[in-house]
């Protein structure tokens, strides 16, 4: 069994992250799921939320995904999301401002997006 699996995190308009990992934790529509090397082939629907990727060197990559899919086969894991951002890329103050504004305007989807971003930063 391979000790690492290959991860591709792709958004609709770019490749966000790709590399080797030992564990990937994501939230599907029926609960959190952790994928380790050698997992059964899997295809699931992702909920908006943070995805945690533990890399081989002991580092952790956290990304905020806004809906999408997780697919795993042949020791290759793909995370497909319409919008995906690494937590390092997220501007906390801007996300907080966006959250406040979304709350003020009662814009549900914008509020959810901002919330997901902040949660991803909190995990980091």
């Amino acid at each position: 069994m391979a000790a690492e699996l290959h991860v591709e995190l792709v958004a609709a308009d770019r490749q966000v992250w790709s590399g080797e990992a030992t564990l990937v934790v994501a939230r599907t529509s029926s609960g959190d799921i952790g994928v380790m090397p050698g997992h059964q082939p899997l295809l699931g629907v992702l909920e908006s939320g943070p995805v945690t990727i533990r890399t081989g060197e002991g580092g952790t990559v956290v990304a905020a995904v806004h809906g999408g899919f997780i697919s795993f086969a042949d020791n290759k894991l793909s995370l497909l999301a319409e919008i995906a951002e690494l937590s390092d890329e997220i501007d906390v103050q801007r996300a907080e401002r966006a959250l406040e504004r979304a709350k003020a305007e009662a814009d549900d989807s914008a509020e959810r997006r901002a919330d997901v971003r902040l949660r991803a930063v909190a995990v980091r």
């Binding site: 591709e8 792709v10 958004a11 609709a12 308009d13 770019r14 490749q15 599907t28 529509s29 029926s30 799921i33 059964q40 082939p41 899997l42 295809l43 699931g44 629907v45 999408g68 899919f69 997780i70 697919s71 086969a73 042949d74 793909s78 497909l80 319409e82």
Partner: protein
Amino acid sequence: MGAQLRVYKRRIRSVSATKKITRAMEMIAASRIVKAQRKVAASTPYATELTRAVTAVATGSNARHPLTTEVERPTRAAVLLLTSDRGLAGGYNSNAIKSAEQLTQRLRGEGKEVATYIVGRKGVAYYQFRERPIARSWTGFTDNPEYADAKQIADPLIEAIQQETAEGGVDELHIVFTEFVSMLTQTPVDRRLLPLSLDAVSSSAVADASEGAGTEGPAQRGGVRPLYEFEPSAEGVLDALLPRYVESRVYNALLQSAASKHAATRRAMKSATDNAGELIETLSRLANAARQAEITQEISEIVGGSSALADATAGSDK
């Protein structure tokens, strides 16, 4: 300065001004092609992965879905035509429109009613001028399409296909766009997006995706396919997956169309610049000839005048 010469000089000035403009537009288009191509390349990983996932569900389960089942007697089809907002692109728009017309004819020949969806002001203007019905149209983003634009287009299309045909829904979805083959070649193509036939999806969709990427592994093409575990269920995954698939295909078509539009603009502007150069050359020759004729005339007038004067003085001497 003679009247003729002045006219030529004015025309040369105006043509050089035009040449400057077309040259600038050519440069702008050239830089935009690169940007558009980069966007096409950036969207490829997502499209490839998505196609792989669709293939996985299509082959790994027996799930049935309205978006994948062929209607026995299709009666209504939707055609999505991608044109640009601005002209100055040679035959780009008219070629795309012509291709859509041919497809429409063919579908009508098969006894299907056609609902036309249009992207881009040029296509809308063409249909409006001929007073043909447009089911829906979108304008304003064809030069630099974003994923949100593709979503905006795909949503009503998916809605239409999920509706019963009797209630104004459609059975098939075709898309006409201009494929970016190379800097010099852009060809209008039509593709059937929906329904995906579950058997054909593995071959056709993979072929489509590998056009851009060519990374489909041999394990996906034939032989044993992995048995997938679906979360929450095969139907649930398919429900969520297919709209995204359509969106991603529309997005890809939008990006390719944009790249093609810029390439066509660049070519059209290049030939306009070349033509302006030629015109300036011809006009300069004519202007030179006019100036020379003027000088010759002036000289002959002076010579004629002085000889007349000489004749007159010679006569008075006698």
